[in-house]
Amino acid sequence: MVKIEDYAPIVGEGTVEAIREMAEIIRGERAVHVNATSYGGGVAEILSRMIPLARSLGIDVTWQTLKGDIDFFKVTKKMHNALQGDLGTAISDEEFAHYLKVNAENAALLELDSDVVVIHDPQPLPLVRQRGRGKWAWRCHIDTSTPNEAVWSRLDPMVRMYDLAIFSMERYIPKGLAIPSIIDYPTIDPLSPKNAPMKPEDVTKVLERYGVDPDRPLIGQVARFDPWKDPLGAIDVFRRVKSAVPGIQLAMIGSFARDDPEGAEWYERVLRYAGREKDIFVLSNLDGVGDLEVNAFQRAFSVAIQLSKREGFGLTVTEALWKGVPVVAKRAGGIPLQVIDGTTGFLTEGLEDAAERVALLLRRSWLARELGERGRQHVRLNFLITKGLSNYLRMHIELVGKMG
């Protein structure tokens, strides 16, 4: 059972004490978080760590997920793409009606009677139509800076029914948003199975289990199999680097989330694009790659790459930096907040440039070490779960008012 005091050696006793004091103010208050899926993707990961930690502080917080059919998740995936700026996506009246219907069915099943209700992302957004008592906040984890207006205008009337909206970055706030909003940078949990320290021999065992040679350099991208993450670009970078560093290996690690019907299709595309190249390892949860394995792979990377064209924030970058691994990445989402060019990694424009940077870091291991160490410090100071938890507690206090 995770306890707040376990974080004191990492973030300091003062931070832990301040969290305890805030939690005391709302001890016994009820809160519920609702999202689309309990597994896969950054939101489920954040909640899986944040909820038990909040509960350990005496807050009666629960986490509930939607039940939906494949058609529902196809619509919400389209919605996700449209909100991220895909102008070619259209949602038919029939699809939208199904989206509302599934949410209405869920509203009857979920326990939403709470002091604070936090709804994550667009999938459960319409639950607010059945809102009862309590304050409702919509936590949008995706980049909605330039949404497909036709789709946004269908969601906007429901967004207006919330008390507060929360975005990951200032620029993600849609123009004309009619309700108050706050910014909350996502964070990672340094004690989770995905980020906790590992013994070198355990890292080696994981690599060998998947046929990766621990004695040759490994680069990798951890991301869903999704066009926004440009997995084919990652393979292109690998091929360019390979001509300079013949022994190089590439790990492409993703997961299949229940709310991501495109994932399987893109996984197949990635496999086809990798072809018979024996030094490319395309792995997912279906191969038994869970948090521990991702942790091991990230620790084994000489360089992490993140070629996403769009990102909510880029927590896989945070994870790699926390493990002291320099990151070569494109300027998407919150990546420039984390990857400071030439200091914690490199920001790149195109694949050629990315390949050159990766090759440079492979040649100069001293530079990779230096950047990796700075990256770890940057995450320690700015992007750990204690900040996310503090933000959440303050939001709750202000929404419901201080007790006593």
Binding site: A18, I173, D341, L381, I397, E398, G401
Partner: protein, 287 residues
């Protein structure tokens, strides 16, 4: 290039001080826009901005606190309950070039510098960088780098409406336009906070008074001595104008005082970096 010579002290407030102390700092003296919140050991634990203070007073993040505690009660609460987490913290061995890149990439005008124990060592601020560019001209004008989407208020708009607009649109200042669409004044978050504080200090029954004063037209608090620039002004000259007048942003107007855009200090810094490159920027501020 030593980071030390760029650092400024930065406004600080201890975490257990009441919110009204922050309000006083925003309103008086050198009225900073952001205050770093520290614990008893001088460690940075958060940050509070003028906009955040205004959000609290407007009940913009929820009215629960104001409903239960009243505005006066809210102002007596510890600032630690209201501050935001600070995500721009760097160790003191970070280089100036790294900080410049971080600020320019993310349109962030400051970075907080701490030691290994998170004790505050100083603030690396856009002003310190722009000060070192005094006298420089870059052969690029404001027009190409200003923001053309200007959030503004009309003459006669109520203070409350102006405050709501600043909170919702997340801007620090509003040009106040007259009926012909010409620049008549500027209202800032600081102007509104000063007004509220003066009411807190002089009146009882604050809630009622706040409602009354916030119905007054924005001209009651806006400044008519406006600092503005022209689209053809060089980036260097525009930076100096903001430094000389101690403003963080200004409207861009034409010969008839019609507002064409708005430009901030960090916009200028980003623009200079894009025109001459980070390497040259570093050399310029070092020279």
């Amino acid at each position: 290039m030593s980071l030390q010579k760029f650092l400024v002290k930065g406004a600080t407030l201890e975490v257990d001080k009441p919110l009204i102390k922050a309000l006083e700092m925003f309103a008086y003296g050198r009225h900073p826009y952001r205050i770093l919140v520290t614990n008893g050991e001088g460690r940075v634990v958060g940050i509070i901005t003028g906009r955040r203070a205004l959000e609290i007073l407007m009940g913009a993040r929820g009215t629960g606190m104001a409903e239960k505690r009243g505005l006066r009660g809210t102002l007596e609460e510890n600032v630690g309950i209201f501050m935001d987490e600070c995500h721009e913290i760097f160790l003191e061995d970070i280089g100036v070039e790294a900080l410049l890149k971080f600020m320019v990439e993310n349109t962030i005008g400051y970075a907080v510098i701490v030691d290994q124990s998170r004790r505050l060592k100083g603030v690396f601020h856009e002003v310190a960088v722009l000060e070192r560019l005094r006298g420089k001209r870059f052969g690029a004008d404001v027009r190409s780098f200003m923001s053309k989407e200007v959030v503004f208020a009309r003459t006669g708009t109520s203070i409350e409406e102006a405050a709501q607009t600043m909170v919702r649109k997340r801007v620090r200042r509003l040009p106040v336009l007259d009926s012909d669409g010409r620049l008549g004044g500027i209202v800032t978050i600081g102007d509104i906070l000063r007004l509220i504080l003066s009411e807190v200090e002089t009146k009882d029954g604050l809630e009622r008074d706040l409602k009354e004063i916030s119905r007054a037209p924005v001209e009651r608090v806006s400044s008519t001595k406006t600092v503005s620039t022209r689209p053809e002004e060089d980036l260097g000259a525009a930076a100096e104008r903001m430094l000389d007048n101690e403003v963080s942003g200004m409207p861009v107007v034409d010969g008839q005082k019609r507002v064409l855009g708005i430009v901030s200090r960090i916009d200028i810094l980003k623009a200079v970096a894009s025109v001459i490159g980070i390497e040259s920027l570093k050399a310029e501020i070092n020279g």
